[in-house]
Amino acid sequence: MKAKFPILRVVAKLLIPYILLFALYVQFHGDYGPGGGFQAGVIFAAAFILYGLVFGLRSAERVARPHVVEAFMAIGVLVFGATGIITLLAGGNFLQYDVLDHHFAGGILPAGEHLGMFLIELGVGITVFSVMITIFFCFAGRERAE
């Protein structure tokens, strides 16, 4: 694998940073333009999968440790659920974001409904990203059944 496919390896190296950057854009700009947590998670995972396809599964597993990725599957759902719990503790209903209103750093940090959506999209993105990576690792790591 090392010496083979130099064009693929160079092009993948060029593309992966931009794929990651685009995924972050889709994640954090999803409130304003098209996109959101699901799409961002898939695109972010696609960069890792491209890396795994070109440089081998072992290299990809060194970058994204399987047990860390598996933990992030749960962390994403927990971020989403915790947002709901926080709105409950703040006196609102479950996922009623406008109780998240605050007055720190006005205009820079998201607040209120915007903050709530930001948090749950982050949770969705983390879960989708780690589930896609995990499924890829599981599929690609299987040996052919003899």
């Binding site: 098209p34 759902v77 589930v131 995990t134 499924i135 599981c138 790591g141 059944a145």
Partner: protein
């Protein structure tokens, strides 16, 4: 729909149909997997024509990207060729024809593309989307969610008839509580608003479904350390 869009729509839909027929007739599974990826890319283009970039994103990333990779990964473990069928699958052809005709028959009840009086724009709460958009304007006025809901139900009746969303904006300005400043404004992408706020419980459920799918794949396919050497 604009007439000049027909130059995009007709080739796009013809290519979609050609790809679908080719995939169905193909025995080489590797090529079929690649063609389903092409089908997804064409579908993503079609979604762009329909002004649904969010769906197009998902279609391109999941359909053309991830699922093609997963299908190729599966093919690496199994055979690359499908066995030719022993006899012509008449039952499948009849079922597909009946389902297809039912679907085409069903499209006659669908509203026209971009129809402002389509049920999706009027139910369950016609003012909601307009209010969310109004809140998303940089200098727009804000109102509380429950206030917005109540006001929207009040205006639901006349809203259903004239569907002037700007009128909701102006009347809402009188009702608004105005203790929140402009930077607390909502997000302008109405798809995000609907998914995250209006249907937040649904989205939590969907995220849990994805999580469950990941757990299920892990349970079924995970390689235990040392298993490779043992088997």
């Amino acid at each position: 729909m604009l007439d000049n869009e027909l130059f995009i729509i007709i080739p796009l839909l013809s290519l979609l149909a050609c790809t679908a027929v080719t995939v169905a007739r193909m025995r080489d599974l590797w090529a079929a997997a690649m063609l389903t990826g092409i089908f997804s890319i064409l579908g993503a283009g079609w979604m762009i024509v329909l002004d649904a970039p969010d769906v197009a994103f998902t279609e391109a990333a999941v359909g053309a990207g991830i699922s093609t990779v997963l299908m190729l990964g599966t093919l690496a473990l199994t055979s690359r060729k499908a066995k030719p069928p022993k006899r012509f699958p008449w039952t499948a052809l009849i079922i597909v024809s009946i389902t297809g005709s039912a679907l085409i028959y069903g499209t006659h009840d669908l509203p026209d593309f971009g129809d402002p009086n389509a049920p999706i724009h009027l139910y369950p709460n016609p003012g909601y989307v307009a209010l969310e958009i109004a809140k998303g304007e940089p200098h727009g006025h804000e109102s509380h969610e429950d206030d917005a809901g109540g006001h929207a139900t009040d205006s639901a009746h006349d809203e259903a008839h004239d569907s002037h969303h700007e009128s909701v904006d102006s009347t809402d300005a009188e009702h608004e509580t105005s203790h929140e400043s402009a930077h607390h404004g909502n997000t302008p992408n109405v798809v995000t608003v609907v998914l995250a706020s209006y249907r937040g419980f649904d989205t939590l459920g969907e995220t849990s479904v994805i999580f469950t799918a990941g757990i299920a794949v892990l349970i079924l396919l995970r390689r235990r350390s040392g298993q490779e050497s043992a088997s």
